[in-house]
Symmetry: C2
Subunit: 299 residues, 2 copies
């Protein structure tokens, strides 16, 4: 009976929040968006919208870091983050008491990876790794249908990259002088060219620098996690000519090692998102659906 109910999805980004109602098959029926401001303003907006439907559960994908440790008192609480108003926001508590349904919380990138794994470019694959390259860089991992958790969610966007020869740009990450996000996020790209990445022509040498950094991240994720497919999304990856550049660079770095199974065909191993920007929302719907069968649902 419950599986017939509508499900809620909330994607919390740094600049906008999207709420949707849909179904366990990933279909989205209604969707609204509003600017990210403060929890005091935004959480009632989420509750207002979703409260208008007869929903059975809600999945939330949020910019992190966020506590996703099952059965923990602070489950679903945003941790210290650059956005002061959101630091230590008890997201799960506010939403589950406001909506009175099970609420499942994960990082935005894990949610996007769940979306791709269930409904998109990772469908049918055992081990799916998703990389988003937008304002920041994030990675999410889904293994046997479940998002990878541990100490926290992955924060692989902050893993180390070696500088492109002669690149002296200061990192765009306030923590790391040498991480993928600091050198290759949309923010870093804008900083490097002193403008907006959308306008950079395809033949600009800056794309070689971008591919240099992204391919290092891809290589390290590949060798450490051994995914069956690597899906890349986010604003920067809409420049599709980056895909062949990254694939070529990864193959060069591997020097014939670890080219096996799926990675023998790089064109179908390192692939664009298939869900046109809805990957996180669809992942949130799947997370909501999972609360019905999930033994460690926090409610």
């Amino acid at each position: 009976m419950k599986s017939d109910k509508l499900l809620g999805a909330i994607e919390i980004g740094g600049t906008k929040i999207i709420c949707a109602v849909g179904n366990h098959d990933g279909s989205i029926h209604e969707k609204i968006r509003f600017p990210t401001s403060t929890p005091d303003e935004n959480i009632p907006q989420m509750i207002d919208f979703l409260g208008g439907y007869d929903i059975g559960a809600v999945g939330v994908g949020t910019v992190g870091p966020v506590n996703i440790r099952e059965r923990c008192r602070d489950y679903g609480m945003i941790l210290a983050c650059p956005r002061k108003a959101w630091s230590y926001c008890r997201l799960w508590e506010s939403l589950s008491s406001g909506l009175n349904v099970p609420v499942s919380v994960d990082s935005d990138v894990n949610a996007a990876c769940i979306g791709e794994a269930r409904f998109g470019a990772g469908k049918g694959k055992q081990n799916v790794l998703y990389i988003t390259v937008g304002t920041g860089i994030g990675i999410g991992i889904v293994i046997d249908g479940k998002p990878l958790h541990g100490m926290l969610h992955p924060e692989g966007g902050h893993s180390k990259v070696e500088r492109y020869p002669g690149d002296i740009m200061q990192s765009a990450c306030r923590f790391h002088p040498d991480c993928a996000e600091g050198m290759a996020s949309g923010t870093a790209l804008g900083k490097r060219i002193g403008g907006r990445g959308e306008n950079i022509p395809e033949d600009d040498p800056v794309w070689g620098i971008e591919a240099h950094y992204l391919s290092q991240l891809v290589r390290n994720c590949m060798q450490i996690v051994s995914p069956n497919v690597i899906v890349m999304g986010g604003g920067v990856m809409e420049r599709e000519f980056l895909f062949p550049m990254i694939r070529r660079n990864v193959v060069e770095q591997l020097h014939g090692h670890y080219i096996w199974g799926e990675s023998e065909d790089m064109d179908s191993y390192i692939v664009p998102s298939q869900l046109g920007g809805d990957q996180a929302l669809k992942g949130c719907l799947a997370m909501a659906a999972d609360t019905f069968g999930h033994p460690s649902c926090p409610l």
Copy 2:
């Protein structure tokens, strides 16, 4: 009834092979070792030894790469590797027909990680990452009690590291000019000093270089996989003074980011193996025990 039976364990290394019989609790009753030569010589030795006991199943941890894809015709086959005689050796087929019991095969490092996760330094942790630093460098990952598989097993020892300033040594890895194994394995360490690592005094500056490389690998594994604990073993890690050097270097690299949960106490986050060299064998016993309950056992 079956769980009362003895279990077999086989650890196949580059220079020696260890066979053991033991129990599902990781206890080892008998153990023999012989030099690694060729499958034609070594496989009958394994079958001779284990065939002398009434065992219920066998777990094998082998130097890779090895096909560990469930239900695959070539499951348990060694893939192309530097040791010619072992390339394409049908390990699973030879052992399971020779011993007539279920045989479970994984990489040596995944086996060691299973050992630590079940019986050692990773006991009770959800997401355990094991790094061995010996002749080579390998990583294994166990999540919710299961080894991480995907395209293949992890090969994170070959992930990228940035050179120590001024280090011009040629990589000891024949594939990669820039991987952790090539710059920081026991082999690389020996090459760097032109001798045997065991004899290098603790105050030699070479350890600073070693810690530089290992801490990059640890940082990347930590940020990409978010393990609850990182266990380090292998010959090089017997030099215990490396642990505080690596911990300090990782903390410096994180710059305050991602210090959360277990990683707040680095002394208990990056830890030595607790199984005194038997981690892979004990992991193999656990793999053997798992065949009784594992739905995708290939037999």
